[in-house]
Symmetry: C2
Subunit: 405 residues, 2 copies
């Protein structure tokens, strides 16, 4: 019954054909529900990397730096920014890792609010975000104010009152929480942060390519995100960062490198920041990674973020209904918001024995991941996840829980 | 006559066959003398990347993180460290860009010398090194002491006396100068730096894979370097960094990320540095880049750094002799040390019209690069440069200079 419904949904799915745009994998994988952690490889990416290896690197050699490569951080940044993030050109670059980008932007944001002594984040933020913030608070002698939102709910503007004030320099949150998938109210929170004269850095790792993001309209100051989840850029592909035009002119980040300098090949004495968002760059660009990100962005752009989001909602709705029907009676609880509009494109299913169950599911070819303390995540990546994957996964999980219960 | 000599040298060259281990390029390239800036693609790298795309990423998917990828920064770091840098295991990782690695190590070094107020570098250091140092001096309120060595000579221990003292916290130099190729005396300089109680960070960009480096014996504290020059890791491949065991326990770098934390997948509250050199890591590893670096390191290891260096000396000796015979009469001067043991594996040939001549050479399929103010660099990358490439380049340069002179 459920499998038939899922097959019908697959047949009606306007994005169903996109699965063929990715490498097929092999028979060991019965269902891939971890595209929220590592997206699958697009065929176009494989072709673009081979082209880069053979033609750009192999034949054009050093000439490719000026012909193609040096422009990639800003060119791919704009391709990503203008389509996936709704950011006007000239505000987004692709470079470094999310962690390094966060470090740069948070340091730059603190420098824009001299004299203020507090940084705000939340205890459920992704680990690297928390660690970066701790390090910066320590090195700058600032105080870290920890918000403690409900673990299964999102961060709302109303929650902020106790932690915001005249001493707040910078606030940083994830747009979509990595555990619960709860969506934070980007525009509402940004407005509250601005009300006290502070700046905000958004982490879009779990939203970029999954749900609509509207940085300019939300008047976000800064944002970062990774490209290897819903953007399918590949393992460790470079991250992106966004610096709103409104703060670019006074923007200064601490890792002063040659690629962020005006006229880098003058190799002149004295650092002079490049015009615009390019000053956020530091070292030599990761070319293979940039080429992979570009292809991932093109696929998302072609499919359209609205259609991607619509399918993401339909997938997670089916996953939630199946969880309620088949898993709740076995002691599982939903670790994500119940309302579709409140969550991103994964759901978390909690069980006291979650870690062992996730390992058993994976061993059985149903690839999911586990997040402490008790959450099994079902990632629904709309370009590659089929509705039919969900009953397969839920039935297998129910069988495992029954067998070990 | 010269061409015949060069052909004979090619015939006797024990490394001649290595050229076949790289992609061949096409007929537009008459000679590639820029392997000191971007090494050519090894065929094994192309195969390894295709394997990663299809098998590790495409089929194993998320499982590859634990099966293969998470270990790469330290595994490839040790492969590079133990062979190319003569560093005992557990001191080298591959990550980030040279610029970001430099930032981390210089900040960590300054933190190990609290109360000291000075950083030393030289005006001929590579631009990104100078800019990073300037940024750190500014953010920490330290004084930057600039050494001004002769542009065509190396940095010697004797030159250091005026800039070293009880206030020196950290000293950073390039092992091989990017303009002149002059080799700095690593062991001698390190000893002088230690004599005043300071620490040293070596930049090995132009020496790793080109000349013997002996970090442990020199008692170097820290080192960084890129992998896309003589290590043939590809455009923007990740950099490496070295932290001597002697300073690891107290080592703390400012970009606290999840990959540098003890037990990262606990995703626990509070940053706790990982044991050993892994604490130098920050964000998610660049997998394709790491796989490319590994293949580049394997080729250098197989060929042997002593044989590579011997051919590097023979190549640059021929280049110097041809310059003296054919180019000196046309107004060119040697911008590199005359004695082979004093220079790395490139030479710089200076001419008032150098920039235009370098562009014309490149347009004619003889790929070189130009460095301000007047230097044409002939990079001699021993695994891919033929002796026969040198008369071709020198004759073409002489013809161009005669025509425009």
């Amino acid at each position: 019954m459920t499998r038939r419904l899922a097959r019908q949904l697959d047949e009606q799915d306007p994005l169903a054909d996109y699965l063929d745009r990715f490498l097929p994998g092999d028979d060991s994988v019965r269902a891939y529900l971890d595209g929220n952690s590592l997206g699958r490889p697009p065929k176009a990416t494989v072709a673009a990397i081979e082209d880069c290896l053979h033609k750009q690197w192999g034949t054009r050699l050093i000439r490719s730096w000026t012909e193609e490569w040096l422009a990639l951080p800003t060119v791919v940044g704009d391709e990503l920014g203008t389509t996936v993030l709704r950011a006007a050109p000239g505000q987004t670059v692709v470079a470094d890792s999310t962690t390094v980008c966060l470090y740069k932007l948070l340091r730059a944001a603190c420098a824009l609010r001299p004299g203020r002594t507090e940084i705000v984040t939340d205890v459920h933020n992704f680990p690297t975000d928390r660690y970066v913030v701790e390090g910066i608070a320590s090195e700058l002698g600032m105080t870290l104010r920890w918000l403690e939102p409900p673990i299964r709910g999102g961060i709302t503007p109303e929650l902020l009152a106790p932690v915001l004030g005249a001493q707040t320099a910078v606030v940083t949150f994830s747009h979509v929480a990595y555990q619960s998938a709860a969506i934070a109210d980007m525009a509402g929170i940004t407005a509250r942060v601005h009300d006290v004269g502070a700046l905000v850095v958004w982490d879009l790792c779990h939203s970029a390519g999954a749900i609509p993001v509207d940085l300019d309209t939300a008047r976000a100051d800064f944002a970062v995100g990774c490209t290897y989840k819903y953007l399918n850029g590949g393992p460790g592909a470079p991250a992106f960062l966004y610096v709103n035009h409104a703060v670019q002119e006074r923007f200064h980040q601490p890792i002063q490198g040659w690629i962020g300098r005006a006229d880098p090949f003058a190799m002149a004495q004295g650092y002079l920041p490049a015009p615009g968002v390019s000053r956020a760059l530091s070292g030599t660009p990761n070319v293979l990674g940039l080429i992979a990100v570009r292809e991932g962005v093109r696929l998302v752009t072609e499919a359209g973020i609205e259609r991607i989001r619509a399918k993401g909602i339909a997938l997670t709705e089916l996953a939630v209904r199946l969880t309620e029907q088949h898993l709740a009676p076995l002691g599982f609880t939903l670790g994500s918001p119940r309302r579709a509009e409140d969550r991103g494109n994964h759901i978390t299913i909690c069980h006291p024995n979650g870690k062992a169950l996730a390992e058993q599911l994976t061993a059985a070819g149903i690839l999911v991941d586990f997040r402490e303390p008790d959450g099994i995540r079902f990632g629904c990546s709309p370009l590659t996840t089929r509705f039919s994957d969900l009953p397969v996964a839920v039935e297998a999980l129910a069988d495992l829980a029954s067998a070990t219960g």
